[in-house]
């Protein structure tokens, strides 16, 4: 049996899905968090699946993620629809319910967020509502295990009892809303959302204030990055570094004690430990950034950012919703690109996607941290923030140009629900951080592991597979062939070039590669690298990394969401843009340094 969770955006479908399946899908307080189908099993029930779908306001689909849901219902014919309803927003939620009723699929209503209705001193007569709609209702307050178990039980039974026939009359929107108004007048007492609404207006007086709104947004972003790079993340990273060192030394001694084969020993210590260790030590900084991004999402501030930024973004052909994708892009480009599905105009959507690679993703943080500390020790975190700004500014200029040369579309628009603020829940925040750490570790032990092994192999052997010194290795020979291409940018060492290339597999691989090739851990790497690079080359390298071709995962997401052609174009364009700008920066800074 298949149960499909259907409902308006932001009504709590994924929260219920996670509770039923014990999974850990992304939740956030803004419309359009889920943009793809997620399937999970119901524990203790054989052959029962729950499907989490993107939210939709109407079966008259408008945005891409809504189409996903509609297509799923039409093609996969779920056995039962679990219609999740946000009780604080009854009127509009019931509109979809009336539409779903016409599909003739057995339906159960999960009336969610009743805790908030209660807090607002509102009241909904559930029995009466059940009778009026002729659909069974399961009340849910805070999505507890007990409540969802009850929901599943009732959903299982519904099929036998079901006797609705398809009724296609009353299809008119106005009529539906008239009917809903009558129902609501009958079943609701007191205003079901007035209190939290007024609280939200009070907060918005400041956050979307005419004069202060945009400055506050900028300050919040600055604080987030400052705390991430300078205070919290940095401190935690140092702790982890110590830990890695201890484990590595311990293993090293163990291997020596047991007389393990020298090649294997070298592979474990000089390949795996150095490669993965160099990357893992930056995990805390990355998680700290995700922590703050999740606060933006869970509180509901994300939609306010879209609200205040719509006007400036519309000047370069984007929509307020692009701001959400852009911010997600600071975490990882893949979900950021997926999130553009909520942008209705294809033109705005494509422009947003093209801007995302300019938003420096969290995987690049280790690279910045290492290279910035070579030349800007004292102002490291400021320079890191400056890099983000440079990326954004270049991206915006290029988007503005693309906006001019592509035809304007009539569809360009902005319609966005502004949900009330919520206090971010401790559970959601922890789960998100746990999830991101898990993803990161998985990546470290898959992609980074393999690239570390390959790099270690290529640097240890020559073309006849004899062990050799690094300078005579296979990798050195290949690297030196490519090096001339990058000499105009100031990168003369083949090891730097190699790291740029492995960085396309995943950006973390840049640092793991450099660590392996110089045989130093992340802490000592800056000292070593400072011998390989002049200050100008170092700046040029930072700019190049900031802008060049996104990782494979991002490119393949663009291919899936747009087309192969678009993805290749993005990959090549980013490389050319990075090359050109690094070239200019390198020569300018050389000129400056010669001058003084």
């Amino acid at each position: 049996m298949i149960f499909a969770l259907v409902g308006n955006q932001n009504c709590g479908k994924t929260t219920i899905f996670n509770q039923i399946t014990n999974m850990n899908q992304h939740i956030g307080n803004f419309p359009g968090v889920t943009v793809d189908i997620k399937i999970g099993e119901v524990p203790n029930l054989i052959d029962c699946e729950v499907v989490d779908l993107p939210g939709l306001y109407s079966l008259n689909t408008y945005t891409k993620e809504e189409v996903v849901t509609k297509k799923y219902i039409e093609q996969n014919k779920p056995d039962v629809l679990i219609n999740v309803i946000d009780a604080t927003n009854l009127e509009r939620n019931l509109y979809l319910t009336l539409q779903l009723k016409q599909l003739g699929i057995p339906t159960v209503i999960a009336l969610n967020m009743l805790d908030e209705v209660e807090k607002n001193n509102g009241y909904i007569n559930i029995e009466k509502l059940e009778k009026k709609l002729d659909i069974p209702i399961v009340p849910i307050t805070t999505v507890t295990k007990k409540e969802v178990n009850n929901l599943i039980q009732i959903s299982c039974k519904i099929k036998e009892k079901y006797n609705h026939t398809k009724n296609t009359n009353k299809s008119d929107v106005t009529e539906k809303y008239k009917l809903i108004e009558e129902i609501c007048k009958d079943v609701c007492k007191n205003n079901i959302n007035e209190k939290s609404n007024n609280k939200t207006y009070k907060i918005d007086k400041l956050l979307t204030n005419k004069y202060l709104g945009i400055p506050i947004f900028i300050i919040i972003m600055y604080i987030i990055f400052y705390l991430t790079f300078n205070v919290i993340g940095d401190y935690l990273s140092n702790l982890i570094n110590v830990g890695i060192e201890v484990v590595s030394n311990f293993t090293d001694n163990l291997l020596i004690e047991h007389n393990v084969n020298e090649i294997i020993h070298s592979m474990i210590i000089d390949g795996i430990f150095i490669g993965i260790g160099s990357v893992v030590s930056f995990l805390p900084i990355i998680i700290t950034l995700y922590f703050f991004l999740s606060l933006l999402e869970d509180s509901g501030y994300m939609t306010r950012i879209a609200f205040i930024m719509d006007k400036p973004l519309s000047k370069i052909g984007l929509s307020g919703k692009s701001a959400v994708s852009i911010l997600l892009g600071f975490g990882c480009s893949v979900p950021a690109i997926l999130s553009t599905r909520t942008i209705q105009s294809e033109r705005e959507r494509k422009l947003t996607m093209k801007l995302i690679p300019f938003m420096s993703c969290s995987a690049k943080i280790p690279i910045y941290a290492v290279f910035v500390s070579i030349c800007f020790k004292k102002y490291a975190s400021l320079v890191m923030i400056l890099l983000y700004i440079i990326g954004a500014v270049i991206g915006i200029l290029i988007t503005a140009y693309l906006n001019r040369v592509t035809k304007k579309s009539k569809e360009d628009t902005f319609i966005l629900e502004l949900p009330n603020y919520r206090f971010p829940t401790f559970k959601n925040t922890c789960l998100l951080m746990w999830n991101k750490s898990k993803e990161f570790i998985e990546k470290a032990f898959s992609i980074i592991f393999f690239s570390s092994m390959i790099i270690w192999f290529l640097k240890s052997f020559d073309e006849n597979l004899y062990l050799t010194s690094i300078e005579k290795s296979l990798l050195a020979k290949i690297g030196k062939k490519i090096t001339p291409i990058f000499i105009p940018l100031g990168f003369t060492d083949w090891r730097i070039i190699t790291s740029i290339i492995t960085g396309i597999s995943a950006k973390e691989a840049v640092i793991s590669t450099l660590s392996i090739l110089t045989n130093t851990n992340a802490q000592l790497l800056p000292i070593y690298l400072s011998k390989m690079l002049s200050i100008s080359s170092c700046i040029s390298f930072l700019i190049f990394i900031l802008l060049y071709t996104p990782c494979i995962a991002t490119i393949s997401t663009i291919k899936k969401e747009f087309s192969l052609r678009t993805s290749i174009k993005v990959a090549i364009n980013q490389f050319l843009i990075a090359y050109t700008i690094s070239f200019i920066v390198y020569n300018l800074s050389n000129l400056l340094f010669n001058f003084f």
């Binding site: 109407s58 509109y95 959302n193 719509d310 319609i415 629900e417 949900p419």
Partner: protein, 78 residues
């Protein structure tokens, strides 16, 4: 009773929808969101740069661009 377009309503003032003068998918979306004839709408505020606007209807808040609001004909409620 004054008839005007939604974007002209002052912050905090109420109005009632008469007609949506758009003929594209956007109109259907607005209808689906509950902006139908006779719907009561409260103007909450404008974004810091004057566009988009925030309105309150049917118990929830919605923001739409001014270019859309211009095409929604409303009657001011005093």
């Amino acid at each position: 009773m004054k008839i005007t377009s939604l974007d002209k309503i002052k912050d905090g003032q109420f109005c009632q929808v008469i007609k949506i003068n758009i003929d594209s998918e956007i109109k259907n979306r607005l209808l689906d969101m509950g902006i139908v004839t006779n719907t009561k709408i409260k103007m909450i505020k404008k974004a810091p740069l004057g566009d988009p606007i925030q309105i309150y209807l049917r118990g929830y808040n919605l923001s739409i661009r001014k270019s859309i609001a211009e095409k929604i004909q409303v009657e001011v409620i005093l």
